[in-house]
């Protein structure tokens, strides 16, 4: 209870009312998504049982849950290579995007020459890039990593160039008045300024890297979430297909949350996002 409330009892009840309201709101924020997911599962189960959908077309939620439980070790075995590919691709794609953004910002002519090439490569759909890279890099993890890297690369490059360039012009003048060198301007001004932009790109990249790895596994692969999706589809094992998809998206969500957590810890000092 605040001091003001202790002096005035009518304030105390207003304060209690306010806090109760806050608690209700917090509770609702937690419960509403659960109700949403629950009703979606009910609708799904209702449709499958009600319309008597055969199991090779679509499984019931119960069948999917049973498969998840029974085949957990096998699903996990297939998740590991996908995780490695997505993570390696994420690192490779983003690191090269950061390096190229840095050179673009310092050498305008390079940006003018190569940005169009990058845009053209980016317009090729992933499903079209995948066979090209499989032919180039073989059947191992390399083409999957390359696809995951390529898919991460473009959003990070664009955001990073913007983050490095959109420096407060007066802060830039300040650096010149202080006779700062190019590398000092980069490390003390441009790079910290780009971090919020970088993290919004990394959050996109976290989920797209997983997509890249899975699409890469569709072509001539025997392990991984992508390969399992193809196998389950051709075997009309819809329960396994759905279970695999769920495992893949759980990994995607976990990866996204990890990046969000790192972002929060890194950008705590940057103040509110609107600054």
């Amino acid at each position: 209870m605040s001091i003001a409330a202790r002096l005035d009892p009518s304030l105390a009840s207003a304060e209690a009312e306010f806090h109760a309201g806050q608690r209700r709101k917090a509770m609702r924020r937690r419960i509403m998504p659960l109700i949403g997911i629950g009703s979606f599962l009910c609708l799904w189960a209702g449709l499958v049982y009600g319309l008597k959908v055969p199991p090779f077309v679509a499984p019931s939620p119960y069948a999917v849950a049973a498969t998840l439980w029974a085949k957990a070790p096998m699903l996990f075995e297939n998740l590991v290579p996908t995780m490695i590919e997505a993570f390696s691709g994420f690192m490779l794609g983003n690191l090269s995007a950061i390096l190229i953004a840095t050179t673009f910002v310092h050498k305008k002519s390079l940006e003018e020459a190569f940005f169009p090439v990058i845009v053209i490569i980016n317009t090729i759909p992933v499903v079209a890039k995948a066979p090209i890279l499989v032919l180039l890099l073989g059947n191992g993890m390399e083409p999957k990593i390359a696809i995951a890297a390529l898919i991460c690369f473009f959003p990070t490059l664009v955001n990073m160039v913007r983050g490095l360039q959109s420096v407060n012009p007066q802060a830039m003048e300040l650096m010149r008045v202080l006779s700062a060198s190019q590398s000092e301007i980069f490390f003390k001004l441009r790079l910290p300024n780009s971090l919020p932009y970088l993290f919004s790109a990394l959050k996109i990249a976290a989920s797209t890297a997983v997509i890249g790895a899975i699409v890469g596994e569709w072509i001539g692969s025997t392990v991984g979430i992508g390969a399992l999706i193809i196998q389950a589809t051709y075997a009309f094992d819809s329960a396994l297909l759905y279970a695999t998809v769920i495992v893949g998206s759980c990994f995607s969500v976990a990866f996204f949350l990890l990046i969000t957590l790192i972002e929060r810890l890194t950008l705590r000092r940057h103040g509110p996002a609107d600054q």
Binding site: L174, V177, L178, S179, E184, I185, K188, R269, H270, G271
Partner: protein, 274 residues
């Protein structure tokens, strides 16, 4: 008291001596835009002595900020010479003789107040503080921010942010402080208080100050001299000495003498817009 005795009109003296803090001689600045050539400043000449406080007054578009940037070596004059302490603006910049306060405080949002003040120590070869030089903490105290060292810019008010940027500009004891409408974005109450504090800081540090403003009151209250510029292109209209007491507080603005000075300055600005 007549206006003639109240205001000592001094002709913009031809920048002659090397002993002046700033000697500006026939400086012209032209910018090329895609369609035409814009003359921002034309044949500007003035000089100010060591330890002076000069206000640069003029309507927007008169090139006063550009003039400040020529002094700071951020803009190169198209013609004429600018001498700072007998050398070029570049020498002055490299020897860290200049402190610059921008209109927007231009603090780095990821650095605390004290780390923002310390920035000049970390870049450009840095200034080395002697044992008797004020530290960043001393300067924050000087601008009235003791206890706020660990705060981030987004936790400070606009006035406090501008105080931090003044402390940063004062680090290393620059001989010349350049201020580009530093209080223009602040509310009047904060602005008045900072005006008073800036006078105090000027008296305490003895730094030469060049202060750009479009406020008649600010120019007359702060400056020992006011250089009035006209727009399109920027030309010196008049340089007048403000003969108010050295130790002044804001109440000086209510004296008849100050009102006369302000009226005179306002009349000059009014003629330009006509």
């Amino acid at each position: 008291m007549t206006l003639a005795t109240a205001i000592t009109g001094i002709a913009a003296s031809r920048g002659d001596t090397a002993s002046a803090a700033i000697a500006c001689r026939d400086v012209t600045v032209r910018f090329m835009t895609e369609s035409r050539v814009v003359t921002a400043l034309e044949n500007i000449s003035f000089s100010i002595a060591h330890g002076a406080f000069l206000s640069l007054l003029g309507p927007s578009g008169c090139g006063k900020s550009t003039l400040l940037r020529v002094v700071a070596d951020l803009v190169q004059p198209s013609a004429g010479t600018m001498q700072i302490f007998g050398g070029t603006p570049e020498e002055a910049r490299r020897s860290r003789a200049l402190g610059f306060v921008f209109q927007d405080a231009a603090l780095l949002p990821w650095r605390t107040a004290i780390d923002n003040v310390s920035l000049p120590l970390e870049v450009g070869g840095g200034v080395k503080l002697g044992p008797n030089d004020p530290t960043p903490a001393d300067l924050l105290r000087l601008v009235g921010l003791a206890g706020w060292e660990k705060s981030y810019p987004h936790e400070l008010s606009g006035g406090m942010r501008q105080r931090v940027s003044i402390a940063r500009a004062l680090l290393g004891g620059p001989k010349l402080l350049l201020m580009d409408e530093p209080f223009g974005a602040l509310d009047e109450i904060t602005r008045d208080r900072l005006n008073e504090e800036l006078r105090r800081i000027w008296v305490e540090t003895g730094t030469t100050i060049l202060f750009v403003t479009h406020s008649v009151y600010e120019a007359a209250y702060l400056g020992e001299q006011v250089l009035v510029l006209s727009p399109n292109p920027g030309r010196v209209v008049e340089c007048i000495a403000i003969d108010l007491p050295r130790e002044r507080d804001l109440t000086v603005r209510e004296t008849p003498h100050f009102v006369q000075i302000a009226a005179h300055l306002r009349a000059m600005l009014g003629k330009m817009n006509a």
